[in-house]
């Protein structure tokens, strides 16, 4: 973490409207969580981009390895029973 004199780094997530998921926006530097929130507000929400913010220390993020993404995100096409179309519904059944 680059914290010599630029403070630790935090990742910023914005919820643009209540009910919607939080989305990654970028990062800020801040000495503590309160400053991180304030900096994130000043930097990423100057034009009503959000109603709620998360800041997370960059070091705390655990990411998957893109090299493994093939097997890691294997779509499991063989597990067709995960799809609703796999099931046979009795003739005439409605709203299911």
């Amino acid at each position: 973490m680059s914290s010599d004199n630029q403070f630790p780094q935090w990742e910023v997530f914005i919820q643009s409207k209540t009910g919607l998921p939080f989305k990654h926006a970028g990062s800020v530097h801040a000495a503590d969580s309160e400053m991180a929130l304030q900096n994130a507000r000043d930097l990423y929400t100057r034009r009503m981009e959000g109603t709620s913010l998360w800041v997370v220390p960059t070091d705390s993020i655990v990411a998957s390895n893109p090299d493994d993404s093939g097997s890691f995100f294997d779509p499991s096409n063989d597990k067709i029973y995960r799809q609703p179309t796999h099931y046979v519904m009795p003739e005439g059944a409605k709203n299911i």
Partner: protein
């Protein structure tokens, strides 16, 4: 996978218009090129606040003052978005600043020209932000994910920058003869440096081959410059100002304006550090950074104290 295979997969991904993300494998030269380009872009946003900052206390009206303040605050934000993107490539903020202060990293030469009066603030918004927008719109499609997302964010904010500048120019152009002369003079001085913002001609820009192949850049310097000229000529006509280029002429065949040759000697001279304000801009940036040291120290000390308190409790 060996590096040849990786390189092949990397290029194939780019050719499919998929973005490269920070943890993906990338050739070292791709990473280097991005760090150089993004940091230069970031430093330009930040240093670019100086010529305009000069006028916050001298804006001719309260409206002009709040507009200029908001614009300059946006530029600080642009710098930070871009530092944030550069940091995803493994370089730290400290290193980025060190490279700027040590002269290893550059910023756009346009900011080494002075702003002499209020008309220059209009010309900067209209021409300098206008040129930057042409470049940044194109970079929204750059292949590196964080850079591309930063550009999308920046482009949303830029359009008011150019409009506020053009409004100043339009107002002055329809003001007194003296005001109109000031506006024309600002255009005369800033037109050519604005064209230089796009960099050397394609034939003379050695690095653009890889940058285009890797889709870091989506259009060449000359293509972007032409777009800017084509857009701006009409805007000058509308407000009754004259572009200071006697060779400027509409070319029916190409559907573009032909224009005169840029003074490249001047360009390289300013890049080398001999522009009217190079020294002033860098000195000011270093001084501002040094004078802020106590704030950073205090914030760090406070954060440490809070952390210790929370451990005790």
């Amino acid at each position: 996978m060996d590096d040849d295979k990786r390189l092949e997969a990397f290029q194939a991904k780019i050719d499919r218009e998929e973005k490269i993300e920070p943890r993906d494998w990338m050739p070292e030269d791709y990473r280097k090129h991005l760090i150089r380009q993004i940091s230069q872009h970031a430093h330009s946003e930040v240093v670019g606040m100086q010529p305009e900052g000069n006028y916050i206390t001298r804006a001719p009206s309260l409206r002009a003052k709040v507009v200029l303040l908001a614009k300059i605050q946006d530029e600080a934000g642009h710098g930070l978005y871009l530092y944030s993107a550069a940091e995803t490539l493994g370089i730290t903020r400290d290193e980025l600043l060190e490279q700027l202060h040590g002269g290893k990293a550059k910023y756009s030469s346009i900011f080494n020209y002075p702003t002499l009066n209020w008309a220059d603030i209009g010309a900067v918004g209209w021409l300098v932000d206008g040129a930057a927008i042409v470049n940044q719109v194109s970079l929204q499609r750059t292949s590196y994910g964080p850079y591309s997302r930063g550009m999308v964010r920046i482009c949303k904010e830029e359009s008011f920058h150019q409009r506020q500048g053009y409004e100043i120019m339009a107002d002055m152009a329809k003001g007194t003869p003296e005001q109109k002369a000031m506006a024309q003079d600002a255009l005369n001085r800033l037109w050519w440096p604005s064209l230089m913002m796009f960099g050397p001609h394609d034939a003379d820009s050695p690095r653009s081959g890889n940058a285009l192949k890797w889709k870091i850049k989506r259009e060449t310097n000359d293509e972007l410059r032409q777009k800017f000229i084509d857009k701006t000529v009409q805007q000058a006509e509308v407000i009754g100002l004259t572009i200071p280029d006697p060779d400027l002429k509409w070319n029916e065949e190409t559907g573009h304006y032909d224009s005169g040759e840029i003074n490249w000697e001047e360009f390289y001279n300013v890049v080398k550090g001999n522009g009217p304000c190079n020294n002033q801009r860098l000195t000011h940036h270093k001084r501002a950074h040094d004078e802020g040291a106590w704030v950073r120290e205090a914030a760090n000390a406070y954060a440490k104290k809070q952390l210790e308190k929370s451990k005790v409790a």
